[in-house]
């Protein structure tokens, strides 16, 4: 359901509001080095920078706020403990993303064996201004909110029908807006594989959501 409270706060895609702190200007490399020496304030800044994006990815993978919350928390704690082994070959962002993605995939494999209830999520008020999205909903109906909510539910169900790797590719590319190269680094595969996964994932989604596309 679309609620007013979403309008005055950032969506899962928006960047974190700027922290009035000197650390907010410091580069990741410096913060990582300080964190490796046990400086929790530096790590706090790194968490502030990336937790929203990591959370959003995990959330779109699990379609559940509580699970996304727990997995993001676990991923950052694991990252801090493993920080001494971080050599800096990739950026901290890619590295922490990889931890979160692996944890989420393991979690989803375990969850598939149990029954799962998807949580319905509140939407940002801005959605009503998105012309691209509104074209999927009949503008003649007075119950547009209901239609939008239904569409969101169907979309989540369709995403959950995809395999973990396909869902992750769609999440990172179509929802998070990452490039094929970035996704390749996170998923530890080449860009060709990313493209092919994206193609098959979209084909499957098209089949599941045909009533909205035709």
């Amino acid at each position: 359901m679309i609620k007013q409270r979403c309008a005055d706060k950032p969506t899962v895609r928006d960047p974190q509001p700027a922290v009035p702190d000197a650390l907010s200007e410091v580069e990741d490399v410096v913060l990582v080095r300080s964190s490796q020496e046990g400086d929790l304030r530096a790590f706090d800044e790194l968490v502030r920078r990336y937790q929203q994006r990591v959370y959003a990815t995990v959330y779109h993978m699990t379609s559940n706020h509580e699970d996304a919350d727990d997995l993001t928390q676990e991923s950052f704690i694991k990252a801090y403990k493993a920080l001494k082994r971080f050599k800096g070959d990739s950026s901290f962002y890619t590295w922490v993303y990889r931890i979160a993605v692996n944890r989420t995939i393991n979690f989803l494999k375990q969850r598939n064996r149990r029954s799962f209830h998807m949580s319905l999520n509140d939407m940002d008020m801005q959605v009503e201004k998105d012309a691209d999205l509104l074209m999927f909903i009949s503008d003649k109906t007075p119950r547009r909110d209901v239609r939008l909510n239904e569409l969101q539910e169907k979309l989540n169900e369709a995403l959950l029908k995809l395999s973990e790797t396909h869902r992750l590719t769609v999440t990172l590319h179509d929802i998070q807006g990452m490039s094929h190269e970035e996704i390749g680094k996170i998923m530890d595969c080449n860009t060709g594989t990313v493209r092919s996964r994206l193609f098959y994932a979209r084909q499957q989604l098209q089949a599941h959501l045909s009533e909205y596309l035709n």
């Binding site: 899962v12 937790q51 779109h60 706020h65 939407m123 999205l133 929802i175 979209r202 596309l213």
Partner: protein, 170 residues
């Protein structure tokens, strides 16, 4: 309505974009950051505690570990009890002292020797040979049991037959 001229892949991309508008619960970002940092701080503080506190904390948090420790303690107690019983049962055959004689059975053996073997009657010269035994116990010294009626005593005891060399006068 949907534009039929638009490619399906483009339409599906736009539809998936709906997910971008899903937002977390209010105040979520700050709460999550503080949760992560407070958990890390708690772990750092725990690492500075003495080992037994950390150990008890680990036991509190992990029921499997607690059960495993309980099992190990119970097993050790059982082993201790079992071997304690066994040890008590075997205590008479223990070898005590430099002479290699048995403390608890020495008196019995001495008596048996006296009764069954006329050669091994206690004499004053023999008492000198077993002086060390006499100082540590009040039992009679055993010299030789050639025909002891108790076989396990014959086998398990270090019985030494005295020769003439043992009875050298001063």
């Amino acid at each position: 309505m949907n534009d039929p001229q638009q490619p399906a892949s483009s339409r599906i991309e736009k539809l998936i974009a709906l997910k971008r508008f899903e937002c977390p619960p209010p105040g979520h970002a700050e709460l999550l950051t503080s949760k992560i940092i407070s958990q890390l701080e708690a772990e750092q503080m725990r690492a500075q505690e003495p080992w037994f506190k950390r150990w008890t904390h680990a036991l509190e948090l992990n029921p499997i570990l607690t059960t495993a420790y309980g099992g190990v303690v119970m097993a050790l107690l059982w082993v201790g009890w079992h071997y304690g019983e066994h040890f008590e049962a075997e205590a008479p055959t223990r070898v005590i002292g430099n002479a290699g004689l048995q403390m608890s059975t020495l008196g019995i053996m001495g008596n048996l020797a006296q009764e069954n073997d006329p050669v091994s009657s206690p004499e004053t010269t023999l008492e000198q040979a077993f002086q060390s035994v006499q100082t540590s116990s009040s039992v009679q010294p055993l010299v030789h049991i050639p025909g002891s009626p108790v076989p396990w005593l014959r086998e398990s005891m270090a019985v030494r037959t005295l020769s003439h060399a043992d009875f050298q006068p001063y």
